[in-house]
């Protein structure tokens, strides 16, 4: 699940030592889907002339994703549900209801992030391993940052809060994310000036923007008058509060230590000086707030740049910065998808053809495929990438390790539902071959039936027949006796079933039926030529019965079959001319002749009935 965009400046790239690799050797490498294959080359380092053949080993270098994936699995699973709900939601809803729906989706995503944060926080406090604790804590702060950014994007882009409600949302946003509220100021406010307090916190839904502005203007002027009159002159504390309320930047800045971040400062400032700020004006206040707050002492961090980009309504910039900073695609993929549904992203085509949303979803989903269980989520994401999703799915799905039959069945079901016939055939073949190698002929047949793979069914039947020839009896009778309609999948399989039936009839002493079946197997060309000798040999005991079984007609047929077999045909393999075969042929000829004689007599005789 790697993810740095191009041009990522990363001073903290960790060095991985490949254990067992000889230090002075050159290593060569190749990228895999989730790992790097590394091996030692023949060549020593340039200038040392130390190259020489080494032991042939291949190292698989994989990022240790275990902890990371384990704790975020819940996030991936739950957000998958939200993602799918969003894709399926009705686009016909227009205007306000659609917007409300999208805002709800955004809130759902955020609550999933928060739930995950909670879990991770619990894990951090309950673990005793300091390294793990460190990792969990890092994850908590990353998730917290993600929620912060997402929340701001929700306010500015998804909900697109207008002037008035905008400040309220921003207030909530800051309050939610910053622990230290300017409680001292508030406390004083509520005790000293209840009327002002009431007016103030009434900013919002019940009043129109102009009403609000008027009231605020009035209140502001009143405050100013108090200040100028020196009403608070005796109390410097109250005076400074009054200045803050008037939006005096210096006064607010003095309270810097109460505000943890520049965006807290921004919102506080807006609260007291420009509560009816319009969305498009935010960028100016944001920039100046950041400058004032950081005051040249520290430079902005990546999170600051991302938030700034959001205040500037530069959506693409937000996404780009997040891609660079975050080590996984989850965040940008889902956020971009949501913004796309809000119809806010132009179809910003990237140079290799797909758009931003699709690119990010493809990257995210591809990462999921390296996990033994989360790959199933990846399938759904690919389904919703109209341009390249199908191709990506086809490539990835064939590379899922099929450790158990149940997993193979799940993969197959996915392929069948999407008419991916090539992949179905390929997977069934792999499973059938595995079964065949393990001598599970019934399983192998079951996979061939699923894929309707006649060629493989023929292969399996040949195996059975070969076993029969070697051992003189059938293995796996439970399978052969119960083939049912699947017998028709391939001619060879049909032959196998019918041949077994012949043996059964013979065993039940139903000789005339057995005889008829045997003959049909040859004359209808169900039996492969290689097996005819065996069949004819099987006919011997029938020919030598006391009772005449084969009719004259049938005997002639048998003789013809024998002649076909023994006389060399142009183009066919020469008949084996060793002793055993010759003896067999002679015995057959004799038996056939005798039978013919008997049957002519019998048929010529009038039975007195």
């Amino acid at each position: 699940m790697g993810g740095a965009g191009p041009g990522a400046a990363d001073e903290h790239r960790p060095v991985t030592v490949v254990p067992g690799a000889v230090p002075r050797r050159q290593l060569c490498f190749a990228w895999g889907p989730a790992e790097v294959l590394v091996c030692e080359t023949l060549f020593g380092r340039a200038g040392t002339g130390e190259g020489a053949p080494s032991t042939s080993r291949v190292f698989v270098v994989r990022r240790d994703q275990d902890i990371y994936i384990q704790t975020l699995r819940k996030l991936f699973n739950e957000s998958h549900g939200i993602f799918m709900g969003l894709q399926r939601s009705e686009e016909e809803l227009a205007g306000k209801s659609r917007k409300a729906q999208l805002v709800q989706v955004s809130k759902n995503y955020r609550s999933v992030i928060r739930a995950c944060m909670e879990d991770m926080h619990q894990a951090a406090i309950s673990t005793r391993d300091p390294a793990l604790q460190g990792q969990y804590s890092t994850q908590v702060s990353i998730l917290s940052a993600m929620e912060l950014i997402w929340n701001l994007c929700e306010i500015l882009f998804v909900e697109a809060a207008a002037a008035g409600p905008l400040l309220l949302r921003l207030l909530d946003w800051v309050r939610l994310h910053v622990c230290d509220v300017d409680s001292m100021v508030r406390e004083v406010l509520s005790s000293e000036n209840p009327s002002k307090h009431k007016l103030f916190w009434n900013l919002g839904n019940t009043q129109t923007l102009t009403e609000l502005e008027l009231k605020w203007q009035h209140w502001h002027e009143e405050c100013q008058r108090y200040l100028q009159d020196g009403t608070f002159a005796s109390n410097p504390h109250m005076e400074s509060i009054c200045k803050i309320l008037l939006g005096d930047e210096d006064a607010i800045l003095e309270k810097k230590e109460l505000m943890t971040t520049w965006y807290h400062f921004l919102v506080t400032r807006l609260l007291y000086s420009h509560p009816t700020v319009k969305p498009m004006e935010l960028r100016f206040y944001a920039q100046s707030s950041m400058d004032l707050f950081l005051g040249g002492e520290s430079s902005p961090e990546p999170l600051d740049m991302i938030l700034m980009a959001a205040f500037e309504f530069e959506m693409h910039q937000v996404i780009k910065e997040c891609s660079i900073v975050l080590s996984n695609w989850w965040f940008v993929a889902h956020l971009t998808d949501l913004l796309d549904h809000c119809k806010l992203l132009q179809s910003h085509n990237l140079y290799f053809g797909s758009n931003m949303r699709e690119f990010l979803l493809l990257e995210y989903a591809s990462g999921l495929f390296s996990h033994h269980s989360l790959w199933q989520l990846g399938v759904d994401y690919f389904d919703h990438c109209p341009q390249y999703g199908r191709v990506y799915l086809e490539l990835h799905i064939e590379r899922i390790p099929l450790s158990t039959e149940q997993k193979a069945l799940k993969v197959l079901r996915i392929c069948e539902q999407r008419q991916m016939h090539e992949q179905v055939r390929s997977i069934c073949k792999i499973m059938a071959m595995k079964a065949l190698r393990n001598n599970r002929l019934g399983s192998a047949l079951s996979w061939s039936i699923r894929a309707k793979d006649a060629a493989f069914a023929t292969l399996i039947s040949d195996r059975f027949l070969k076993d029969y020839c070697e051992r003189g009896c059938f293995s796996d009778l439970d399978l052969i006796d119960n083939l049912g309609p699947s017998m028709l999948l391939s001619d060879r399989l049909t032959f196998l079933g019918k041949y077994r039936e012949f043996h059964r009839l013979y065993g039940e002493k139903r000789f005339p039926e057995a005889a008829r079946l045997l003959l049909t197997l040859m004359t209808a060309h169900i039996a492969p030529c290689s097996f005819w000798m065996t069949l004819l040999t099987d006919a011997l005991p029938l020919l030598e019965q006391k009772e005449v079984i084969f009719s004259a007609e049938q005997t002639y047929e048998l003789m013809r079959c024998l002649e076909d077999l023994t006389s060399p045909n142009p183009g066919s393999a020469p008949f084996q001319d060793d002793d055993v075969e010759t003896t067999k042929v002679e015995m057959l000829r004799l038996a056939l002749a005798r039978n013919l004689a008997r049957v002519i007599v019998k048929e010529g005789t009038v039975e007195g009935s």
Binding site: S403, E405, Q406, L409, G442, S443, D478, N482
Partner: protein
Amino acid sequence: HGDVSAKFCSRRSADALRPLPPRLQSPDVFATDNRISIWSSGDLGNAGLNGEYHGEPRLLCDIQHNGDVMDMQTLSANHRWEKAHYHVDQDTSCGGAACTGVVCSNPEIVTVGEDGRINLFRADQKDAVRTIDNADSSTLHAVTFLRTTEILTVNSIGQLKIWDLRHQRNEPSQIFSLAGDRVPLHCVDRHPNQQHIVATGGQDGMLSIWDIRQGTMPVSLLNAHEAEMWEVHFHPSDPDHLFTCSEDGSLWHWDASTNVSEKPSFLHQGGRSTAYLSHSTINQSVVSAWLSNDPTKDRMEITNLIPNQTLSVNSLDVLGPCLVYGTDTEAIYVNRQLFA
């Protein structure tokens, strides 16, 4: 979720869930997979206003397990039987075969696997009591007890077999199969009271009801799911109710209690889909609603208990009023008011 509580447990899809029987624990405890975990779904002290439980299932304990857990039963035992299932050579690392099903009847344990092998263990013995090698040429998907000395297995070429463990012969005493294509059967369950009634679920999502006293073919074939049916369970104390779950993400409740008007209604809010279906039966038969042939009484109510289905429901179990199921979205769901 209304009366269903859910927990995302970050487990690889729950392949096996079993509530522990009341004599061991309250029916609130069930186990999930891959790590074998025991969860508690109920803490009666937290009951809400209407006696509904709103909390998430709580993890009690778990151990790591290598590989996917395919099936689970409960028993007091303290053993591992390693390498019980394998292809060709027990000791090669790639020779292991998945053990697909296990069933217990204290103290006996029977397992079946992809190697077509049937193993019989006893809880107190280190080695297998009996092994039937190559019992089946295809994969055995599930096993259950028919009687104390007989077991039922289903395999991937659509056969239901009865094995009599008293006999030393390594052959089934009876083989049943579906009429048409040899569609693999994935699950099997026997009626708790009437031992001749058996239900199986197939790869095509079809539910088959068999009367094993007669014929070699099913009595009813009911077209249900759109993909593999992974598990089928008769309700242990109310066997007119049957539950099936499938790869297609649905969990069906089949209610064959004959008196439709007295039927309990189900409190599942939103997304209830019901269908009335008459049996297409082949044989005349006796008392049970499952084998009944009377068209006027013969209506069965089928309900999908999952409103927003996404990924496969791999496993379910039911005990009393409590239904538990697990999905491929790595979540387990508990419904404690099935018949409310």
